[in-house]
Structure formats: C-alpha cells, structure tokens
Subunit: 169 residues, 2 copies
C-alpha cells in the first residue's frame, strides 16, 4: 500500500479501477429491475472478481444483506477464508457504517465507490443519517444502547483467553 | 419509547432484562467451548426469544457473522420480516460498529450489552480500534476509502426512484 493511495482523493483511483465500478453499478441496476435495493458490489483480487453482491434486504428478509456485505460473504465462501487480505471492494454507492466496518473486519486492502451517502439519502435511505448518529453521543439516540455489567459479564472473554486452540481473527 | 429509556445509564435497564443477558453470555461461553469467538446474543420480543446468535466468523468463513448479526438474521428469518420493530437485542459484549448499525437498520427498539469494547480489546479484538477509526478522517485510515464518481454513478438511484413497486426499508 503506497502512501499516495492512502488519500481520499478521486484522482488517486487509477482508471483501470473503473471497470469494477461499472460492474457494481450494473449489478445495482439489475437488482432494481428484480425488485431489490439500488446497490451492487464486487470483490476483486489479482484482477479477478472473486465475489459479487446485490442488496437482498427485502428479498431475503435480512436487514444486513447489503450489497457489500453480500459480496464479502460471497468472496469468503468462494475462497474458503474469513480474511480478504489483498482484495478490494468496489461498490455502486458509498458503504454505510455496517458495510465499511465489515470491510475492516474482512481486512480488505481498499474500498472504492461511485455514488455517495447524499445520493442514497435522496433515494430515502438512512446511510447518511446513521453516519451522523454514530458521531453523536448515544444518550441522544432514538434507539437506546445500554451497558449493564451483570455478574459473569467477563466470563466468555476469560474463557477465550484461556482456550489454547482459539482461532483469532 | 419513553425519554427515560433514551439515557445511556446502566440503572435504566430494569433487572428483568438480566435474564436475557445471562442467555447471551451462556451462548458466548458455549461458543468458545465449540471453537468460536467469545460472543453471544439474543433478540427478544414480547418476552420471548425470537432469535439467537453466536460468533461464526472462523467457523463459517464469514467476517460479518458476529453474534448480534447472526441473532438479527435468525430473528428476521423466523419472523419472515426485515424489520424488528418492537424487539430488543441483548448481547454478551458491546456491539461493534457493524453490529450497532445492523441494529439500526433492523429498527430494533433497544440494545443492551454486558461486557464492553475494552474487554474485547483485552482479548485481542478490534471493536474499540474500529470505533476509534470511524471517528478519524478517512485520509488517515490504513484502508483507503475512495470516491470515484464514474459516469452513470447515479443511474441505480434514479432507476429506484422511478420504480413504482419499490419496497422501501
């Protein structure tokens, strides 16, 4: 990873990446025609598509089945690995915080997107609203998020640390 | 939703909620014994468990298969709905940004957790690191996140807005 790639600067995306964004946008368009949300994504490694995804929230009754999450799951299933180190994610629209954190957990090298959270907001989606919410103190959230440290709260963590054969991720 | 419930205050969690946290912690402990990550979660609606989840990242090769996501998917599949309005999520540990945003998209009423991001960090997990990263400018991220507005970037959004039978979520 070069330092020049670590800039949020559209000009830093080499033109050869556009083909993957075009693929993601086509998947998004196809999904709208099929009755799903207007989002598509592909995972690419070594110049080859290793996973594709379309938004399946309403079709699969799964609020986590965003295009990026679906593409990451698909790539991991195909590669038989929970890590996508060395791979890149191309999305038709800016990943929401769920998808962006999924990209971090998947250890992806890079994320590139075409439309952004403002386009999604214009279409009625909450991506931008959730980004804004994550910047605010939870005390101000409409959905309460409460810590309640019951007895034994740390037991799973302790069991994990004591388990010699644990598989870290 | 009363205003008193919108406070991040452990004392705001009524003791009857503890039983669900105990269930989540038991699921987490069982998962460690089974070779998975130390996290468990349950979704409760109307005093009944409607979904359960354990961390399946390494077992299913799915970096998004966190306990909370798995519980949300399970509840939605059982209820045949992509919305969990009226339901609550109880987790053995503080949801990471992926899981917290999944709870928002699932329209859950409330999230309660036992251990927190510091406990997870002590066990080597990146939950806290990713929360910190989301507060920083993306230009400083080790994983570049790049906007590249290709021609046709808005086409899926426009197609969605023009599609009369779209199912909103």
């Amino acid at each position: 990873m070069t330092s020049s790639m670590a800039q949020v600067d559209p000009t830093a995306a080499p033109p050869e990446e556009d083909q993957w964004l075009v693929r993601a946008v086509r998947l998004a368009l196809q999904n709208v025609a099929d009755g799903g949300g207007p989002f598509g994504a592909v995972v690419v490694r070594g110049g080859v598509v290793v996973g594709t995804g379309q938004n399946r929230v309403t079709r699969d009754n799964d609020p986590t089945a965003h295009a990026e999450v679906t593409a990451i799951r698909d790539a991991c299933a195909r590669l038989g690995d929970f890590s996508l180190v060395g791979a890149r994610l191309y999305s038709s629209c800016e990943p929401c915080p769920l998808c962006l954190t999924a990209a971090l957990w998947a250890r992806l090298d890079r994320v590139v997107y075409a439309a952004n959270r403002d386009d999604a907001a214009r279409a009625g989606f909450d991506d931008r609203a959730f980004y804004d919410l994550l910047r605010r103190d939870r005390a101000a959230w409409p959905m309460p998020v409460v810590e309640r440290r019951i007895a034994g709260a740390e037991a799973p963590i302790e069991a994990w640390l004591a388990f010699a054969e644990r598989v870290e991720y």
